[in-house]
């Protein structure tokens, strides 16, 4: 990588890209809605169904937090990358001296900010509406959220490569997002889930993430008890990073 010339310091460029992404995020009402209103709706709906069952309410908050991590990274990045790729914005950026790392640094920081905001919203809502205490282990919460963000962000970028055009993005993303969420929620909640479903859920990254968040937010059992969950997330993350980088396309898919 070339050394700094003029104002083109990669860290400063990354910061500028981040600020631009934030500005554009707030100007796009549907993105803002899906990122902030949706988890709250899930929380309210789930809270209404489970009202009077405090144990289940304790499960609900980390489950929604886990889903929020996935939607702000996997879903949002798959959408964004396909949109920017098919519209030719990525190709235009590729022709400028903006370093690739600075660009993706800004994009990733933007996703991380959305995740952090959602975790904060869900945590506060859990305390205000469901009487759940503040997270027991902040470090553990931080570690699992960060691991989840890296893992699902990489998987989102990698998954974007399989999506041929912007029109089919919703179908592709939901075909992954919804089953993963349902299986993970079901297995997380039910002690009587069939073994094969349990195995599937444990092998996917969302259920281990929710386990970790549950420990951090509710029970307070430390990271040491949840190393295997972190390993599963890390393996998916490594898989995601390899395919995110290897298959990356800056240009429209030619049909």
């Amino acid at each position: 990588m070339s050394h700094t010339v003029g104002g083109a310091n990669p860290v400063a460029l990354s910061w500028r890209q981040y600020r631009l992404e934030r500005r554009m995020f707030w100007r796009n009402p549907s993105a803002a809605f899906f990122n902030f209103a949706l988890p709250l709706l899930f929380l309210v709906a789930g809270g209404a169904i489970l009202s009077g069952r405090p144990h289940d309410l304790h499960l609900l908050v980390p489950a929604i937090a886990g889903m929020a991590v996935m939607s702000t990274t996997f879903t949002a990045l798959a959408y964004n990358i396909v949109f920017l790729r098919e519209r030719g914005v990525l190709k235009r950026i590729r022709g400028t001296p903006l370093p690739t790392g600075a660009y993706f640094g800004g994009v990733a920081a933007n996703a991380l900010t959305n995740t952090a905001l959602q975790i904060a919203i869900v945590t506060v809502a859990g305390r205000v509406f469901f009487g759940i205490g503040w997270p027991r282990d902040w470090l553990e919460l931080f570690v699992f959220v960060l691991a989840g963000v890296v893992c699902f962000a990489a998987l989102g970028v990698a998954f974007a490569h399989t999506i041929p055009n912007f029109e089919s993005t919703a179908a592709y993303v939901n075909a992954v997002f919804l089953p993963v969420v349902f299986v993970s929620f079901y297995v997380f909640d039910s002690k009587s889930a069939p073994a094969f479903l349990r195995n599937i859920a444990e092998a996917l990254p969302l259920k281990p993430l929710i386990d970790g968040l549950y420990a951090a937010m509710v029970t307070g059992t430390g990271i040491g008890e949840h190393v295997s969950a972190l390993v599963v997330i890390a393996l998916w993350g490594a898989f995601g990073i390899v395919f995110a980088v290897r298959g990356f396309s800056w240009e429209q898919r030619r049909s």
């Binding site: 010339v5 631009l20 554009m24 920017l84």
Partner: protein, 307 residues
């Protein structure tokens, strides 16, 4: 004059398909160079290799002394690219986009100045979603110029423009040349190449068929053409490399017969003649659109009929 771009024996293969079959050209510093050819000739492939978007299969390429395939930041700081089509963030205004793009470059131009140059000063705060196609194309120009590049790539910059917008774009390109910029332009409009380019390369099927200043291009190939109407009113055209002798013989014979040679003319082949001759393709006669770009061919035909 030093060369801004040197291309030697450039080849590009996609599987079995040979998109470029040995392109040779050099673009001098400070000139406007036109790549002219029908759709699918290899113009965009050539330009995208020079811009660093594609790898070449074979051959030598040098852009401002760099190999574009290495994608060095140093090179991208010195070039500006107008792609054939590229989107921009819909939720940003032209002014915001230019200010952001300016931060990529070590010595950018003033965004306000660039907005004015491309004629977007009054639309600078409108979000890009609300700009018309022509205004977005001007924003493409502005974003390519913001870094104050030495070398500018324009891939079919005026396709889809109305005549007025084309003239405005041509003026912008001339003003860039006046600033000493080097410009590589692809187009399938002959009048555009004729109006703007110092030199032109005619490309077809991945090969350079002819190269030189637009006025001189035909000189070697088709020589002179002598035309007149004979006694029956039919148009006769002769090709010759010695027009003096041909004219002398024709007029002598005509005088002896007591005829006038109506509509007698001597001409050099125009860029259009050279182009059509070189790119003629038996099974695809309509590869070139010589009509006004803003008008569908049908319409200009009916107009000509009305005149």
């Amino acid at each position: 004059m030093s060369a801004a771009i040197e291309v030697h024996a450039l080849c590009k293969r996609y599987g079995d398909f040979e998109a470029l079959r040995g392109i040779d050209l050099s673009v001098h510093s400070g000139e406007v160079f036109g790549l002219l050819g029908p759709n699918g000739a290899g113009k965009t492939t050539t330009v995208e290799i020079l811009e660093g978007y594609r790898d070449r299969s074979d051959g030598e390429v040098s852009v401002l002394g760099h190999d574009p395939a290495r994608r060095e930041l140093e090179l991208r700081r010195r070039i500006g690219i107008v792609l054939q089509s590229a989107g921009i963030y819909g939720h940003l205004s032209a002014r915001e986009a230019l200010n952001h793009w300016a931060s990529f470059y070590p010595r950018p131009r003033d965004p306000e100045e660039v907005l004015a140059l491309v004629g977007l000063a009054e639309r600078g705060d409108l979000s890009a979603r609300k700009l018309s196609g022509g205004q977005l194309r001007r924003l493409d120009f502005a974003l390519a110029l913001i870094g104050d590049p030495e070398l500018i790539f324009l891939d079919e910059p005026t396709t889809g423009f109305d005549p007025e917008a084309r003239r405005a774009a041509w003026e912008t390109i001339r003003s860039l040349k006046a600033l000493g910029k080097t410009i590589l332009l692809t187009t399938h409009y002959l009048d555009e190449a004729q109006a703007l380019a110092d030199r032109v390369a005619i490309v077809k099927d991945g090969r350079v068929l002819a190269i030189g200043p637009p006025r001189e291009l035909g000189a070697g190939a088709a020589d002179y053409r002598v035309a007149y109407r004979d006694a029956d009113g039919a148009l006769v055209e002769q090709q010759t490399d010695d027009p003096t002798r041909t004219l002398h013989e024709l007029t002598e014979a005509a005088l002896a017969r007591g005829e006038r040679l109506e509509e007698l003319s001597v001409g050099r082949p125009s860029l259009e003649d050279v182009y059509l001759e070189l790119t003629a393709d038996a099974d695809d006669p309509a590869t070139l659109d010589t009509t006004d770009p803003a008008e569908p061919a049908r319409e200009s035909a009916t107009r000509a009929g009305r005149r």
